[in-house]
């Protein structure tokens, strides 16, 4: 009797398929359970995640639209060219200012003169100014002029010496040949 009951149990074990509640069916056969109100909470969590994903996707789309617009590319390229040319121009203008400053330095009064000017009495200031002007400006200008002349002369001498060398060589070649 006991054996026949077991046989029936054996034969009927998988006879009943899914009837009604799927969670009960799983619990009954596999022993798997779920937390209380799981599906309600999970639904909310899924909907929240989808909203978040949609928002992130929208943000990235907006970013793509900005980058994909051709006018933005042209604006970006033009800005880059402008910045580059501005940098080059500023660098050049800085260099020329430096040269001008260097040149001016030669024509400014030395500190000694300026200090002396404070110690001179009012009556003698005209004579002092004249002398200073002569010493500081005219003499300096003449010295600069001399420097330039020397440079030109040197270059001429060098050129002449090269020419002499060349003539000598030519002469030697002509004589030997």
């Amino acid at each position: 009797m006991e054996k026949s009951t077991e046989n029936n149990k054996n034969q009927n074990f998988l006879k009943e398929g899914l009837k009604g509640d799927i969670s009960t069916h799983h619990k009954e056969y596999l022993g798997t359970t779920i937390p209380k109100d799981y599906f309600a909470q999970s639904k909310l969590s899924i909907l929240d995640k989808i909203k978040e994903e949609a928002r992130v996707e929208e943000d990235s789309k907006k970013q793509n639209v900005f980058y994909l617009q051709p006018q933005f590319k042209y604006i970006a390229a033009a800005t880059l060219v402008f910045i580059l040319s501005l940098t080059v121009w500023l660098q050049n203008s800085n260099n020329s200012n430096l040269e001008i400053e260097t040149n001016f330095e030669e024509f400014t009064f030395s500190d000694d003169v300026l200090i002396n000017s404070l110690l001179i009495e009012d009556l003698e200031i005209d004579a002092f100014a004249e002398a200073t002007l002569f010493n500081e400006v005219v003499v300096k200008a003449e010295l600069t002029e001399q420097k330039i002349d020397n440079l030109i002369l040197n270059s001429l001498i060098v050129e002449d010496s090269l020419l002499d060398n060349y003539i000598d060589d030519e002469l030697l070649e002509t004589i030997i040949l």
């Binding site: 596999l30 022993g31 779920i34 937390p35 599906f39 639904k43 989808i50």
Partner: protein, 179 residues
């Protein structure tokens, strides 16, 4: 028009999509959860995969060509997501030497949401001993109540092969369960 076809139409309409998606969750969330749970084992894993599955469904519903039923299409997504999850976990477990020895059955029996008696543990053990395809066929037919046609669309196997595989599995269980 069937209920599913109507739902698909609403899901493809941007103005009705969110409401229709909520409806879709009411109808399929529980079924897909159990389908996933049997593949990935624990409740925590199933919860993760279920979320990923529905996010994928939401994102790709516009590309659903309706060559199969909505039901089958969603089961296939859930199945692929579960397999992807297992593969990812397998790679991770190779890096972590402590988890290598854990079989899926051990993990299931230790899960907080497993309350099985001896017979239920035995059934789980017998099913776990099946080859991968046989296991899935039996689970989809017996627990998910899918038709052979639907299973053949999800697993891409002919209906006749599925039938013989399923009945062979049933026979094995009936022979072993009360031994």
């Amino acid at each position: 028009m069937s209920k599913d076809a109507e739902l698909v139409k609403k899901l493809k309409n941007p103005a009705l999509k969110d409401k229709a998606f909520s409806e879709l969750l009411n109808v399929y969330q529980e079924r897909l959860y159990w389908h996933i749970r049997k593949i990935v084992g624990t409740h925590e894993n199933a919860d993760d995969v279920l979320q990923n599955t529905f996010i994928r469904i939401y994102k790709s519903i516009a590309n659903f060509k309706e060559k199969s039923s909505l039901h089958t299409w969603m089961y296939r997504i859930a199945y692929n997501e579960s397999i992807r999850f297992l593969d990812k976990n397998k790679k991770r477990s190779y890096q972590n030497i402590e988890t290598v020895s854990d079989t899926s059955l051990q993990v299931l029996f230790e899960d907080e949401y497993f309350d099985g008696d001896e017979i239920q543990k035995k059934l789980n053990t017998i099913i776990d001993g099946f080859k991968e395809k046989q296991k899935r066929v039996f689970q989809m037919k017996y627990f998910d109540d899918l038709s052979f046609r639907q299973i053949s669309e999800v697993l891409d196997v002919s209906e006749s092969t599925l039938k013989s595989t399923y009945y062979a599995a049933v026979k094995i269980i009936e022979q072993k369960i009360f031994l």
